[in-house]
């Protein structure tokens, strides 16, 4: 049996990056949320905010740890499995990734230590700054990596000479045409993801009648955020889609399930696209609506897959569905935001069980939407690795054998199953145990007990998640 190193490398890359992205999706928003809580603690001096911040910081630490280790895998993956890609784009993308490391990773790692362990060793202001810097680091990291990714979708500012890219304009490289849209769309998605997790956990505590004060603060703040961001995200998604239509029309055709394209194209709600037949089965569609959405005119002309040679088409059998999953989740998020507004106006935010149950159920939505969105954009870029210029098939490491990739793929799958299984288990345990009960009186003890005494910071009360043995 012939094992294809290209296909296996693609599966491996999809596997490790899908696992990896779950953590940044959550930790970027969470870092900002922690910084906000620390700010409120600093300003109001209310123990509630500090205890809430410490609770979410513990959750953050586990997620961040898993994000770091799965991220190192990514950095090496580029070289081990995609060495042609590394050589071809190294002059352009190498510096962007390097900038991510030096502006973001070090910042996050250094100040996370202080955020986690330094509360009793540094003045309050510095501890708050550490929280802000960790959050800054996570956002900067998104900036650089999304710039690098966007460049592969809409390459600009570089020219291909002797099979390798050379930069002519760095500004154009960093701020390539799809980058602002992708950055805005992804950051918003990450904040929504965190918002739904915080809302879900808070709702869970309300349902269980535990940690009510913490839960109310969490619920109110997260729902307020969701209510602003959910409609904004739909608007940003539309802009991103229009940008894709301009630069990657074949991707749009596959997402929409359009084979013929043309004017007055219908919006297809349900279909089973078939590459063999070059047609959809079981199609349910609304006439002309797709033209209206994509071109903002009833008679607008939209692309169809048949406009492109077969070897240049992305796969609609997958894209049609991943795109719809993402959009559907966006609509659910908007619905939750609207229900929240009604409940808040009626003054019943903290009472009805059905709403809290709904929020608990919505916890994974952000993660699913982000995965579906990335599947859409990345599979939609195929068969290119640098859109329109370098094919994915020409990016793989030539010396790689199928056996080696199969080995690594199986190893990664087993290891990730163990690690993420355990990680999820410990996260749920932390959530079940909940925030520690800090009273304002407890904080009368001087917060800064530093000096030269040989002593580690004492842990906060109730920090062990183990019941006493």
């Amino acid at each position: 049996m012939e094992l294809d190193p290209l296909l296996l490398s693609r599966i491996q890359f999809a596997f490790v990056i899908s696992f990896h992205i779950l953590f940044p999706s959550f930790t970027v928003g969470l870092a900002c949320w922690i910084a906000v809580l620390e700010a409120r603690w600093l300003i109001t001096g209310k123990a509630l905010y500090r205890s809430l911040s410490e609770f979410w910081t513990r959750i953050f630490a586990i997620s961040f740890g898993m994000g770091v280790v799965s991220g190192i895998v990514m950095t090496y993956q580029f070289g081990t499995n995609w060495s042609r890609w590394s050589d071809i784009v190294g002059n352009v993308l190498g510096p962007l990734i390097q900038y991510e490391v030096v502006t973001a990773f070090f910042l996050e790692a250094a100040f996370l230590g202080i955020l986690l362990f330094g509360r009793d060793r540094v003045p309050r202001g510095i501890h708050f700054m550490a929280a802000v810097l960790v959050a800054t680091g996570t956002v900067l990291s998104s900036f650089w990596i999304l710039s690098a990714n966007s460049w592969m979708h809409t390459p600009a500012g570089a020219e291909l000479r002797d099979g390798r890219f050379f930069v002519t304009d760095w500004w154009a490289v960093v701020f390539n045409p799809s980058f602002p849209y992708r950055l805005a769309h992804m950051l918003t998605a990450m904040f929504l993801t965190t918002g739904f997790v915080v809302a879900g956990i808070s709702a869970y505590y309300l349902l269980r009648n535990r940690f009510l004060e913490h839960a109310r603060v969490g619920l109110s703040m997260s729902l307020a955020l969701i209510t602003i961001l959910a409609p904004l995200q739909i608007f940003l998604g539309d802009l991103h889609g229009l940008n894709t239509l301009e630069h990657q029309p074949a991707k749009i055709a596959a997402m929409e399930g359009h084979w013929e394209g043309g004017a007055r194209a219908p919006l297809i709600l349900f279909a089973i696209p078939d590459n063999e037949a070059e047609a959809n089965h079981a199609e349910i569609a609304i006439p002309a609506l797709s033209s209206l959405i994509l071109t903002h005119e009833w008679d607008g002309v939209v692309p169809g897959l048949k406009n492109f040679p077969v070897e240049d088409r992305p796969n609609p059998e997958i894209l049609f569905w991943t795109f719809r999953i993402m959009v559907a989740i966006g609509m659910i998020m908007l619905t939750v935001a609207l229900i929240h507004l009604v409940q808040r106006v009626r003054g019943k935010l903290y009472s009805p069980h059905w709403f809290h149950k709904l929020l608990v159920g919505c916890m994974p939505l952000g993660f699913i939407a982000i995965l579906a969105g990335w599947f859409t954009t990345e599979i939609g870029r195929q068969p290119w690795v640098v859109y329109g210029m370098i094919r994915t098939a020409d990016a793989v490491t030539p010396a790689l054998t199928g056996g080696a990739v199969l080995t690594s793929l199986i190893v990664f799958m087993m290891v990730y199953a163990i690690i993420y299984g355990a990680g999820t288990y410990y996260l749920f345990r932390l959530l079940t145990i909940g925030p520690s009960r800090l009273n304002d009186e407890d904080l009368e003890i001087p917060a800064v007990a530093q000096g030269h005494q040989p002593k580690r910071p004492l842990s906060v009360p109730g920090e062990s998640i183990e019941p006493a043995e």
């Binding site: 002059n91 930069v167 410990y426 040989p454």
Partner: protein, 335 residues
Amino acid sequence: MEGSLLTLAWVAIVGFAVFMYVLMDGFDLGIGILYPFAPSEEARDVMMNSVAPVWDFNETWLILGGAGLFAAFPIAYAVVLPAMYLPLLVMLIALIFRGVAFEFRFKARSSRHLWNKAFFLGSLLATFAQGVVLGSFIQGIEVEGRNFAGTMLDWLTPFSLFCGVALIAGYALLGSTWLIWRTIGILQDWCFRVARRLLIVVLVLVAAVSLWTPFLDASIAARWFSVPNILLLSPVPLMVGFLAFGLWRALDEGREVLPFAFAMGLFALSYLGLAISLWPVLIPPGITVWQAAAPPETQVFLLIGMAFLIPTILIYTAYSYWVFRGKVTGAIGYH
């Protein structure tokens, strides 16, 4: 000439990043290697807590080294990484297990012994894999055009495996001297004893690797043993002897900070020795730093940022270590 100055700057930056990684993750991997042999479970808590605030930061240097290679010498990245496919896989998996062990161990109850094992085996295997990568890198990589042209098992030789073992001893020495600095009591006493034994093992292994290397490559032999190089370079082995003696004395006298400093010095000299052997080759046997360098527009764009970002990083690293200065003691929780 401008181009080659830039390239020199990049050699310095990437070389510095890799060296920082070796030093900083070196001592915390070393702690993982010593971990199961520690005198008690409380000692293990202290060992882990002594690096808990800094381990992920230390590991970031590994990403900087990798990303630096990718940015400044793309072809090196594209050739070296595929050649090391399997040992790098082992390293990554091992780093995953030991990284999450930091977080999980303190949360686990019945499974705590499993995370102890994960921390030890992860540290051990990651170190061994790094040594193997180093060894197989020194012995050379088969290149055709701009691609790795060997097989997936080219790295597997007695020399590379030997380097793996040597690095385990080296990191363990760094780890034990770090613990001498940062701990007290039974654990510190134990580290004094262990460090002495490790020093002897490390000296024997480093001598073996140093003598073995020139036999792998005639040009490395010529670099060291031709006249006048043999005289000009003789300070390197002499310094090794001096530092080893100093470390031995420091351990004898019960000094607390000096052993760690001397152990780092030994690493610096080994690293320097390697650089002397290879220069100006970046990928043995044939690709030089000049051939592998990214074009000037890439080097300049990145250098502008590095010029103030790397000092900034060093400043806040120093601050972070300063915040957590002092002895690590007692049964104190993780966080």
